[in-house]
């Protein structure tokens, strides 16, 4: 048993799996972080991802093009994100209620349409995006394959994390977006259009969440199945908190979740004599332990999930 686990081959494959499992979480996590830093809590991330997954499948199936599929996935994510944006920004409603309603709504809608789409027809799996090997870097032992033998989505993610980190740390716009989430009244007084910025944040939320869902269909599976996000939207919410509202932190937290899930399924396959349920708990136990480490240091934006109404007290 142990000699099966403690090999280079096992760890190389495990690290690859960890990144694969983490990528949709990172996209959704970054999207969620962007919205939360601007004061909008989107519990409906699960719905955003599910809509992205379904629309990307439908788009790619009808057009026969993966790029059009991706575009449809992004638009699907934006559509759901905008429902939340209108409810929570323009109408200043309770963001938790809106998010939960969105999750239930999107689950119903996508299941309904996927049945119509599949009715009486057999269909084939889509050919998915292929991997691009980066020569040189990919021959690094252990992590080379995991980081540099992946698809275009994964590479774009590296760029995105760097861009977002610089955006928040070095640019005036980045600071303005954070001001909107911390103290919208002060931001408003300083001439920042609070609501406009929040809409932009929700647009980014929809785009990234949509890509996260589309990734599962266009890169990993080639099919849409009902409720296929299976809680990844909620895990992304946790990754943001665990990552202390920073892009790199969110990336790391998503890797922990993805890694724990990849590990438990691998331990089952090699036949570790533990019940499957005990192994399935692993990601959540790791989360709890990790959360213990961040007690007392709240990085939550001050005005998170508080609607900003101009002129009111």
């Amino acid at each position: 048993m142990l000699e099966q686990i403690l090999t280079m081959g096992f760890f190389t494959a495990f690290f690859s799996a960890m990144v694969r499992m983490a990528v949709p979480l990172i996209y959704a996590g970054l999207g969620e972080m962007f919205a939360e830093k601007a004061g909008i809590l989107n519990i409906g991330m699960e719905g955003v991802m599910l809509s992205g997954a379904f629309c990307s499948f439908a788009g790619a199936m009808f057009s026969g093009s993966l790029m059009i599929g991706l575009l449809c996935g992004i638009l699907g994510g934006i559509a759901v994100g905008m429902i939340h944006a209108v409810l929570s920004i323009k109408l200043a409603q309770n963001q938790s209620v809106s998010g939960i309603a969105i999750n239930m709504f999107v689950l119903g809608v996508t299941s309904f349409f996927s049945r119509i789409l599949k009715e009486g027809k057999s269909y084939q799996q889509l050919t998915t995006f292929s991997t691009i090997k980066i020569p040189g870097l990919r021959s690094i032992p252990l992590i080379g394959d995991a980081l540099f033998n992946q698809d275009i989505f994964t590479y774009f993610l590296y760029v995105l994390i760097i861009v977002m980190t610089v955006f928040y740390a070095k640019t005036a716009k980045g600071l303005a977006f954070q001001a909107v989430g911390e103290h919208p009244r002060a931001a408003d007084a300083a001439g920042i259009p609070v609501h406009k910025y929040q809409y932009i944040a929700m647009l980014v939320n929809g785009i990234l969440g949509g890509i996260g869902g589309a990734y599962l269909v266009l890169v990993q599976l080639g099919v849409f199945t009902e409720n296929m996000i299976s809680g990844r939207g909620y895990i992304a919410l946790a990754a943001v908190i665990l990552g202390r509202y920073t892009p790199v932190g969110t990336f790391g937290a998503a890797l922990i979740f993805g890694g724990a899930n990849a590990l438990q399924i691998r331990l089952q396959a090699v036949g570790v004599p533990l019940p499957a349920q005990a192994l399935a708990m692993l990601p959540y136990i790791i989360t709890l332990i990790a959360l213990l480490g961040s007690i007392g240091r709240s990085n939550e934006p001050e005005s998170l999930s508080k609607p900003y109404i101009r002129g009111s007290r």
Binding site: F10, A101, G108, Q125, Q220, M228, N261, I265, A269, A276
Partner: protein
């Protein structure tokens, strides 16, 4: 403005209730109205001249294109073929099952069918109060004078898949992926292992449970983990989320088998065959037992002999499977059908 929000939100909730979780009972008035309208024209007499009243209870929607729909199709078959008077209740939660059963029994239904193992206990409870009504549960273990369980011998399909896997593998490592550990799913996994070991006792069978019926990406990751460690044949009983397992097999260029319905189209060069379960036939056979007086209050197993469990055709993959393997599998299926060979039934998880 506030009103608009309230309206939008309540609309959102209403739509999602309708499509996602349901929760409300289909009213009988509505169903019987529509069924009588349909039956009036084409009623055919039942085998012995009288038509029975049959009710079906399911846990999901009758148009779910899966588990519940297959039972509903069986019910409609009873109406069309035997002129039975039918009614159904969908989206039943555990707490409402006994109430639904009582409702039907009190209204003079002759047969009340509960589709799913969850209906076992409510059937026993209500069955004791209404001895004149026959209660049938699928996939359950309940039995008394007027309660019977009709169980599909899905392990037979698993056994055949295991034989096929063990015959096709070159690495002598094969994998099986299940969704949530339930008796009716564990027995398929164990059947697969037994079938494989009947060909090669030393074969390594890797297994994993995704812990979810919907997490397709995790099912793929499980298959990928197995493929990374040398597995070159993947089978599953994970319904829709098994699509992920097939996707991994297709990418790796190895063979796989499907489950529940013919999954050939999904990956024509990967899926060799699929186990298919004929639920309408289970409903029909239960109905005929009651009509013909052959009903017994017992747990009844229906398998390949009754046509309830079937293997899908090989299609173009026939040439990929050596002729002697195909002959051997055909002979085994015949032996199972004739009762000459009995696939061991083991509903306990092995580790």
């Amino acid at each position: 403005m506030k009103k608009l929000v309230a309206m939008a939100l309540s609309l959102t909730l209403a739509v999602s209730m309708l499509t996602a979780c349901g929760g409300t009972k289909e009213t009988k008035a509505e169903t019987s109205a529509e069924t009588t309208a349909e039956t009036s024209g084409e009623t055919t007499a039942a085998a012995d001249g009288e038509s029975l009243k049959v009710a079906l209870c399911v846990t999901g929607a009758v148009n779910d294109m899966g588990f519940c729909q297959s039972a509903y199709e069986g019910l409609v078959l009873l109406e069309e073929k035997y002129g039975a008077e039918i009614a159904y209740t969908e989206n039943l939660q555990a707490a409402d099952m006994a109430a639904a059963f009582t409702d039907y029994a009190a209204n003079g239904y002759d047969i009340v069918i509960g589709h799913g193992f969850q209906f076992g206990d409510p059937a026993l409870e209500v069955g004791a109060q209404y001895p004149d009504t026959t209660f049938i549960c699928t996939e359950a273990a309940a039995a008394s004078d007027n309660v019977a369980s009709y169980v599909m011998s899905c392990e037979q399909g698993g056994y055949i898949e295991g034989m096929l896997a063990a015959s096709m593998t070159k690495s002598n490592k094969i994998g099986f992926i299940g969704p949530i550990e339930g008796a009716s799913l564990i027995k398929i996994m164990n059947g697969f292992e037994d079938g494989a070991k009947s060909i090669n006792p030393d074969i390594e069978v890797q297994t994993a449970w995704t812990g979810s019926f919907t997490d397709t990406a995790l099912a793929k990751e499980a298959a990928q983990a197995m493929i990374d460690s040398g597995v070159d044949f993947i089978a599953h009983d994970a319904n829709e989320c098994g699509n992920g397992a097939i996707a991994a097999a297709q990418e790796a260029g190895i063979y796989a088998t499907g489950d529940s319905y013919d999954q050939h189209e999904l990956a024509p060069e990967t899926v060799l065959t699929s186990s298919m379960y004929n639920v309408p036939l289970v409903i029909e056979s239960a109905y005929l037992d009651v009509v013909n007086g052959t009903f017994k209050g017992e747990v009844k197993y229906l398998g390949m002999a009754e046509g309830v469990v079937e293997m899908a055709p090989y299609y173009d993959m026939e040439s990929a499977i050596p002729e002697d393997v195909r002959t051997m599998i055909d002979e085994k299926i015949e032996a199972i059908k004739s009762g000459e060979f009995v696939v061991p039934l083991d509903e306990n998880i092995r580790k």
